[in-house]
């Protein structure tokens, strides 16, 4: 099972790395946020923002956005693979169904992990000061979340089978989740009603946890709540995704 997962993972990564357009834009996109949006936050005050502390709020938010969109749209690839006949061709092998999806999910997760590392490294010269162990644990949480989201996205791709319904679906689900999680600006700036709604969004707790981790505030209860929610969400989505994949494969 591990060999099969690795064979699929290897194939995903090979295809990705041979695409120069992806390598360029995939790695530079997070930087655009830092360069073109980050500076605005330095002059906003309130909610922990202002000066170089802004980066400790902003970078964790960008990491979550990376996981949500990067892994959310992963299912696009599987629709093409479905048309190409790659999925059927792999389904007629004795390879375990779970390997077929986890090899792909692992590819997405590693990609997002690398993009996250690039983001953090580029943020340093802008003035990001954060706890190193906090950064590493945040990246682990983000990767776990990406694993779950991409498994669910692959499953959705197989269910919808068509880019024209897949794109609006993912956009429609991820955008409110993103806005409600306080990714761009912290929810402490929000009016009470918006803050209450955002409390129901699991991603709010993920981003709260990573912000606390970046501050090095390991004892904060946000960290534990956020980590547990990330773990639960990642496992739940991964379970649903692989079950759906297996069912769609008969």
């Amino acid at each position: 099972m591990l060999t099969e997962t690795f064979v699929i993972f290897q194939r995903q990564m090979r295809i990705l790395l041979r695409n120069p357009v992806w390598v360029f834009f995939g790695l530079t996109q997070p930087i655009l946020y830092l360069v073109l949006f980050g500076p605005l936050l330095k002059s906003v005050t309130g909610g922990g923002l202002g000066g170089n502390d802004s980066w400790r709020i902003f970078v964790p938010g960008l990491l979550l956005q990376l996981a949500l969109f990067g892994a959310g749209f992963a299912g696009f690839g599987i629709i093409q693979e479905l048309r190409e006949g790659v999925i059927d061709r792999q389904r007629v092998t004795p390879a375990r169904r779970i390997s077929l999806i986890f090899g792909r999910t692992l590819g997405t997760m590693v990609t997002i992990g690398v993009q996250g590392i690039v983001l953090v490294i580029v943020a340093l010269p802008f003035g990001l000061h954060a706890s190193w162990s906090g950064i590493v644990s945040s990246l682990v949480l983000i990767c776990l979340l990406a694993l779950g989201i991409s498994a669910a996205s692959y499953a959705m791709g197989l269910i919808l089978k068509d880019e024209d319904s897949f794109a609006p679906f993912i956009q429609g689900v991820s955008l409110p989740l993103l806005l409600l999680s306080g990714v761009l600006l912290p929810m402490t700036l929000a009016p009470a009603w918006l803050r209450h709604i955002s409390q129901a969004n699991p991603l709010t707790h993920v981003v709260d946890a990573t912000r606390a981790l970046f501050r090095g505030d390991f004892g904060n209860h946000d960290v534990w709540i956020g980590a547990l929610i990330t773990l639960a969400l990642g496992v739940l989505l991964a379970w649903w995704g692989s079950r759906t994949f297996a069912r769609q494969s008969a």
Binding site: I8, I15, L17, N19, R83, V86, Q90, T93, L158, S249
Partner: protein, 328 residues
């Protein structure tokens, strides 16, 4: 090699359930090449997808390569190769050799075995030297041979081919046919293929199963099937109904006809061998002073086989039935 009993599959659609395959019995012996022939929507692909474990049957059972389809799908998968219908354009960044090795490794071969197998399979399908080529750069014929190679990497004893030569030029088709034949003749692979070309089934299959409306409506050798087909049709265009009537009499005296259909301006004569019958027909007409304005000879087509077997013409959705989507 294959023994299916009462195998059926229905799909739920917005217009209600559609029975894509209705309780078919199907047997394929080891070493046979069997062609599943029928129009689009007849249930060929659905049948193939069930037999290759890609689709669960809604009823019935089947033993494929010695194992139960539903109870032991992994055992079946180990022993069969499946070449799907030609798919969409391949992804950029995929290479012939790597894809073949990846497929072999998913089939359970070690890296070394997979690489060794590539060295035997690639030349067998004229893909030698193309291992480093991007899939996007392959011609239609090469791409199809690559698809066949994918199904052969683990040396299966049973190979399923879904419309292997659809969309290929005549030369590439003939070439692929030769490859398919040699798989059976040299490697002893049992083959079940679907096609909607009569000539393809005729060229390859030892036995043809004709499918229509989710059922197998005929099961026989190509020769036996052709014998039941109407024969060649010679159409003579004439000036008017009077000429047509006179011509009919002359033709009936000149050659052995199976059937004659007269219209106001044409005579359709069905004979065993069109090419042989034309000369005596013309001599007789000429002697009687009749000059047809045109003559055409048409060979029987799948449409004619169909007409003979089912009493209706071979047209997609002839009963106004929705063609079920190939649900994966």
């Amino acid at each position: 090699m294959i023994m299916a009993r009462g195998l059926a599959r229905s799909f739920k659609t917005k217009a209600g359930p559609v029975d894509a395959v209705r309780a078919i019995d199907l047997d394929v012996a080891a070493g046979e090449i069997v062609g599943l022939l029928g129009p689009n929507g007849a249930g060929k692909t659905t049948t193939l997808r069930m037999l290759t474990t890609l689709l669960l049957p809604t009823a019935g059972s089947a033993m494929v390569a010695g194992h139960d389809l539903v109870a032991a799908p992994r055992e079946v998968r180990r022993r069969i190769g499946y070449v799907a219908q030609a798919g969409a354009a391949p992804s950029a960044g995929t290479l012939v050799g790597e894809e073949l090795v990846t497929q072999a490794r998913l089939q359970g071969l070690s890296k070394a075995d997979a690489t060794a197998r590539l060295a035997t399979v690639a030349p067998r399908l004229d893909l030698g030297g193309l291992e480093g080529r991007a899939l996007l750069e392959l011609s239609g014929g090469q791409r199809r041979r690559f698809d066949v190679a994918l199904g052969l990497m683990h040396s299966p004893s049973l190979l399923f081919l879904d419309e292997p030569t659809s969309g290929l030029d005549p030369q590439s088709r003939a070439n692929l046919w030769a490859h398919i034949r040699s798989l059976r003749d040299d490697a002893g692979v049992t083959i079940l293929l679907t096609t909607h070309y009569l000539d393809e089934a005729d060229a390859l299959a030892d036995r043809i199963l004709v499918m229509d409306g989710g059922q197998i409506v005929a099961d026989d050798t190509p020769d036996a099937l052709k014998a039941c087909i109407a024969g060649d049709v010679v159409t003579l265009a004439l000036a008017d109904a009077a000429e047509v009537a006179r011509a009919e009499g002359e033709v009936r005296r000149a050659v052995a006809v199976r059937e004659v259909v007269a219209t106001d301006s044409a005579l359709q004569v069905t004979v065993d061998e069109g090419a042989v019958a034309v000369a005596p027909m013309l001599r007789a007409l000429d002697a009687a002073g009749l000059r047809p304005t045109s003559i055409t000879v048409s060979r029987p087509t799948l449409d004619d086989v169909f007409l003979t077997l089912t009493g209706r013409s071979l047209r997609e959705g002839a009963e106004g039935e929705p063609v079920p989507a190939e649900i994966g």
